[in-house]
């Protein structure tokens, strides 16, 4: 799937509109996060604690899943388990069919994208109403999310305006972002209230109460899952937390890292379906617990990745993401966390370019609220790609040749002396083109070596 990463990245780099759009949202997010972190005393210690909470859960995941399941069932919810994406979609479709659902309202969930739920619903002939504003925009455009928090960040206001004018019954009268948001509010409200099934993800699953926690700034999760007769939750098994107070710590970290807020506007804990005399709420609540490669990640060196709380800070601060946006990555999850997850989800052979598309500047790891060592995990994929022989023959050949030469000191020194002098033939101070270096010089100049090699200078000074 990501075989065309280089082509997509080149296309993205050549798109000036995309660059403006990505910069507007990611730049704002970066500024707001910095202010929120500066205002929080001891954020570094809080990150360490957040990582420890997630590590504890991942180490005892079986225990917490069983505890959560028992409490959710006691509250009247139905709990389903799925090992794969296809099995998860089949469970959701089966619930929809039994409910006689013609339409579902869906509140943004990256897991839903990961398991291909939008496509599965379309194939089953069930109308899908995306209620998150950004998801609504990309549904109208027929596109995929380009960011896990701002799925439509690649769109400019002008592009959104054109879409809404073409597709909304009563579009905005003036060209402001506020008026466009109002247009979506008018358009989506009736659709939400008329849906047969509401589908949401989960930000946290609380083991000691069986509650499902969702957070949104728009309030669309609540409007999507309270009116319909059936509420389906699709959740990754890593979303467990022991208790409410553990969730509280992670909620503080999530909001600050994602949007710079102290807390997301709407934080809701759902425990089971409507009770006898309740005035609203669904009659059935289903929770689908989904593995889809997570147990394998835990066992094969990617347990730290299961800490991820999907805040998006790593991509907002990534120099590569800021240049190419999310679509170029080709998977469900873009940016640094996506470059770690996509090889696990889609296979390394199809995505070996992603771990390479990293400068190793370490910024993602610095801002991660749960201290995921993203550069280390990316390097792990690079090594695996080498071990499995997935690197192109030219790269393998060049590295082998270098490794051989590096083991013969006289040859290596002779070679570098030759190279340092030879390279000067291609430019005085800067080299703008040179054989075998076009991958570098096509986009930037290469400084020409000045003076002699390190070993030459070292020997001279020792004398």
């Amino acid at each position: 799937m990501t075989a065309g990463f280089k082509a997509r990245a080149a296309e993205a780099l050549a798109d000036p509109v995309l660059k403006v759009a990505v910069e507007r949202t990611a730049g704002t997010a970066e500024t707001k996060r910095a202010a929120a972190v500066a205002a929080f005393e001891d954020f570094e210690a809080a990150r360490t604690r957040a990582a420890a909470i997630k590590d504890h859960v991942i180490a005892h995941l079986g225990h917490y899943l069983e505890q959560f399941e028992a409490n959710a069932i006691a509250a009247g919810a139905q709990v389903h388990w799925a090992e794969t994406a296809d099995a998860a979609c089949e469970i959701v479709l089966d619930i929809c069919r039994r409910a006689g659902a013609k339409s579902v309202a869906r509140s943004k969930s990256m897991l839903g994208e990961e398991i291909g739920l939008p496509h599965a619903l379309a194939e089953a002939g069930i109308e899908r109403v995306e209620t998150d504003l950004a998801e609504h925009i990309i549904q109208l455009a027929g596109e995929r999310p380009s960011h896990i928090v701002w799925p439509a960040m690649h769109k400019t206001r002008e592009q959104v305006s054109t879409l809404f004018r073409a597709r909304h019954a009563e579009p905005h009268a003036e060209e402001t972002i506020a008026a466009m948001a109002q247009s979506a509010r008018r358009h989506l409200r009736a659709a939400m209230l008329g849906a047969d099934v509401g589908i949401s993800g989960a930000n946290f699953l609380l083991a000691d109460s069986g509650a499902v926690c969702t957070v949104t700034n728009e309030g669309n999760a609540e409007l999507s899952v309270v009116p319909p007769r059936v509420h389906i939750v699709t959740a990754g098994i890593e979303k467990l937390v022991p208790s409410m107070d553990h969730a509280v710590h992670l909620l503080r970290m999530l909001a600050r890292s994602a949007t710079g807020a102290t807390l997301t506007q709407y934080t809701t804990f759902y425990t089971g379906p409507k009770r006898g005399a309740d005035l609203d709420g669904p009659e059935e609540m289903h929770i689908v617990l989904i593995d889809n490669g997570r147990t394998k990640m835990r066992d094969e060196g990617l347990a730290e990745m299961l800490r991820c709380i999907r805040c998006g800070a790593c991509m907002n601060h990534c120099v590569v993401f800021r240049q190419i946006g999310g679509h170029a990555y080709g998977g469900t999850y873009p940016g640094p966390m996506g470059a770690v997850l996509t090889p696990a989800l889609d296979g390394l052979a199809a995505s070996r370019d992603l771990p390479q598309a990293c400068t190793m500047n370490g910024k993602c790891q610095e801002v991660c609220p749960v201290r995921i060592p993203l550069p280390t995990l990316l390097r792990g994929w690079r090594e695996k790609s080498w071990r499995e022989g997935l690197e192109p023959a030219s790269t393998r050949g060049a590295v082998r040749l270098w490794a051989w030469a590096a083991r013969q000191p006289w040859l290596y020194r002779f070679g570098s002396r030759l190279a340092v002098r030879g390279m000067r033939l291609f430019g005085g101070k800067w080299i703008t083109s040179m054989p075998l270096a076009s991958g570098w010089t096509r986009h930037r100049d290469l400084p020409a070596p000045q003076g002699r090699t390190f070993m030459e200078q070292y020997r001279e000074r020792r004398r």
């Binding site: 001891d42 604690r49 504890h56 809701t268």
Partner: protein, 202 residues
Amino acid sequence: MSAREAILRRLGGNAGDVADEARALLRAPERPPVDPAALAETFAERLAAPSVAASLERVPVAQQLPAAVARHLAQHVPMPGLYLPPDAWLQALDWRGIALDAAVTVDGGAALAVATAAVAETGSLVLDTSPTAPMLPNFLALHHLVVVRHETLVAHLEDIPAPLEQPRARYWITGVSGTTDIEGQYVRGAHGPRFLHVLLLG
């Protein structure tokens, strides 16, 4: 083997006292400091923050609540009709003079709710569903009015009392419905309330 068994078998059993370890993770959590002697002041400051954007009115006694609500509606809500939940305590007050609506049917209306608790740290309002407290009107209304009893104010999110009986939904509202989905620009009134007015009682 069922999917459940397969997943749990791969995850394996657990050694040691999980509960003790979980509790130890919460010892002295890092969080914004809140002066316990100034809960109401801190709460008011948080409500006024741009990301929360709620207005606040202090109401000394419950009997003055309907008049305060009436004034707010007259000043800020052009559309007549207020949704009042069938809460016995609320219904016992004298609401004559305010046009009431049995449901929020048209976008633009107002709904009133009573908070279970409120949090000074964040300016959050804690609401629980019950047979006398539906959830939907609080998301359908454009103007949301929430009554907070002064004695239910707590310092931090961890201090919110656990419910005696787990409600179907407990929801924390920290500001008005907003979105930054178009070019990262913050717009209020995305799907839910555009205006949030807190009536702090006592």
